[in-house]
């Protein structure tokens, strides 16, 4: 397994946001974590990426225990988070944001080709190279956040709510790009509120409810699961 998360507990002060959550992501897989608002999706991403420390439990990446590593150390190992839209650097231009994604890299030629790759994936960004990120629309910022994470050539790409605040058409677009990224060979763990898109995309999926995993299975199976359909897809 590329990523193994075992029984992690995450606290914000006295409030426990995750109560012993476990999940796994294998090499080459696309795994989704779906759940409603407040279920602990973003907390899970924070814990895995190292932005917040866990109070107990263990996180292993690539066979190595990374529980006590800082976020920047985990990132250097290839565990890279694309935070939800607001997580871009607002005062930097598109190109500068992308450069930050390659901050830890020194292989000049490869970085330039990755610029090309990101601009191919997101033509919208290549039209706005010089634009300041803070002045872009929510969808564009989201694309930038994902593109920035790709610039580091992640082993595992953590996507935090890529559809957050986007118009339905843009959601479709973002997800088809994510599919393309996965097909190019990047392992992805995506956390989503938009269950339909996330389940269609995923090889496997977890359902998160108030800080616990309540269900797991193949994406396609969960899509047809009655209780999931009722709770997350709005159909009986």
């Amino acid at each position: 397994m590329l990523l193994e998360v075992k029984d992690i507990v995450l606290n914000y002060g006295k409030i426990e946001a995750l109560h012993g959550l476990s999940l796994e992501v294998g090499e080459g897989e696309v795994v989704s974590l779906i759940g409603a608002n407040g279920a602990g999706k973003t907390s899970t991403m924070r814990a895995i990426s190292g932005v917040r420390g866990v109070s107990s439990g263990q996180i292993s990446f690539n066979g190595e225990n990374v529980t006590n590593l800082r976020a920047d150390q985990r990132m250097r190992k290839g565990l890279v988070l694309a935070p939800e839209g607001r997580g871009v650097f607002p005062g930097m231009t598109v190109v500068e944001n992308l450069e930050m994604g390659a901050y830890t890299r020194r292989d000049r030629a490869a970085i330039l080709s990755d610029f090309e790759r990101v601009f191919e994936l997101f033509p919208r960004l290549s039209e706005r190279k010089k634009q300041v990120a803070g002045t872009m629309s929510g969808g564009e910022q989201q694309m930038l956040s994902i593109g920035r994470a790709l610039m580091s050539r992640p082993k595992l790409l953590l996507l935090d709510e890529p559809s957050m605040g986007l118009a339905p058409m843009l959601i479709q677009q973002i997800f088809s790009i994510i599919r393309e990224i996965a097909q190019q060979g990047t392992t992805i763990l995506v956390v989503e509120q938009n269950a339909k898109q996330a389940l269609t995309l995923a090889d496997r999926a977890y359902v998160l409810e108030t800080g616990n995993i309540v269900k797991t299975g193949k994406g396609s199976d969960l899509l047809t699961d009655t209780s999931i359909r009722e709770a997350y897809l709005g159909v009986a």
Partner: protein, 379 residues
Amino acid sequence: MTDTTPQKSVLKRVAAVPSLLGGAPQWVKVPLILLVLSFCVYLPFLNILPFAYIRTDLRPNGSDWSTVLFTIALYMIVAVGLNVVIGWAGLLDLGYVGFYAVGAYSIALFGSPASPVTKAIAAQFGLPEGWSMAFAACIPLAICIALIAGVILGAPTLRLRGDYLAIVTMGFGEIIRIVMRNSTWTGGPAGIIAVPEPPAADEDFFNTIDVHRWYWLALAVLVILIWLMRRLEHSRVGRAWLAIREDEDAAAVMGVNAFKYKLWAFAIGASLGAIAGLLFASKQAYVEPNGFQLNLSFLFVAMVVIGGSGNIWGALFGAFLITYLPERFREFESWRPLAFGVALVAIMVLRPQGLFPNRRRARELEDRKHEAEEAAADA
């Protein structure tokens, strides 16, 4: 500038951010810079009307013009240093006078034959009476001590955010002053005399009468430091600071060790403050703890904030305003605190990003305002 990072070449190609004179070609830039510099060098002798009206010694009890120029250059060095900490790394340091004092006391303690420290060293190692360290040796020593002081202050406190950091640093500034006042090895409240002046071929070159020479020295140091800091701003370190300032979590997720770079900012800022302190002590030939009061820290912060934090030229202008105006308009001396207060409030209300803001800082401020408005709308 050599291009070692791929980021930079890409940056130049597609997103060059214009700056002061940024668009001007080299043949305009270089003569222009030389012109401004030679004017600065000439300033102490400025005697042509109407330009001479900027002098501060036109009235019988006005301040000596060269001394004012020296102080301006000195505080500009301070502002450049503090700009690294506040403007670039985004850390509010209210105890910057502490580093200024560390620099001043470093040269006083080790460079003056009258200081208890040199006396103790001389006695310990059987050195002749009146021994003291060479001026040139005191410079790296002062920088090292300031770096260490910066790390000692920074390491435990940089995990604090915002206001808490400001309070702790303010305490630091006071601690330095109070330790200097209450210890015997620092000369106590009386301070230390016979702080050495820089060596020169003509032994009397740096004296108390030809103050313009001190001004030239400070100016030269200032120019070198501005050049160095500009290099730093556009380096990987500068980019890391920018990222941390804009979004610390996002910076961490991109592999930036925020703590390490904040500590660097603190240490670099500290050493610049110490260089200014060293010049100050050397020019005065005398240090005493009362020269490093807390209000000096506030003045330093005001320079950076009024000028426009994050922009070296803004910080320089802020230092100029706050040092020069009170000297030029001495006749309104009793109005000074009022004018200062009104000016500060006016700036904060009308132009919170400062007079000459860094473009990015202005945008960050704008962005934060939007976020606050959105949050307010949600609530």
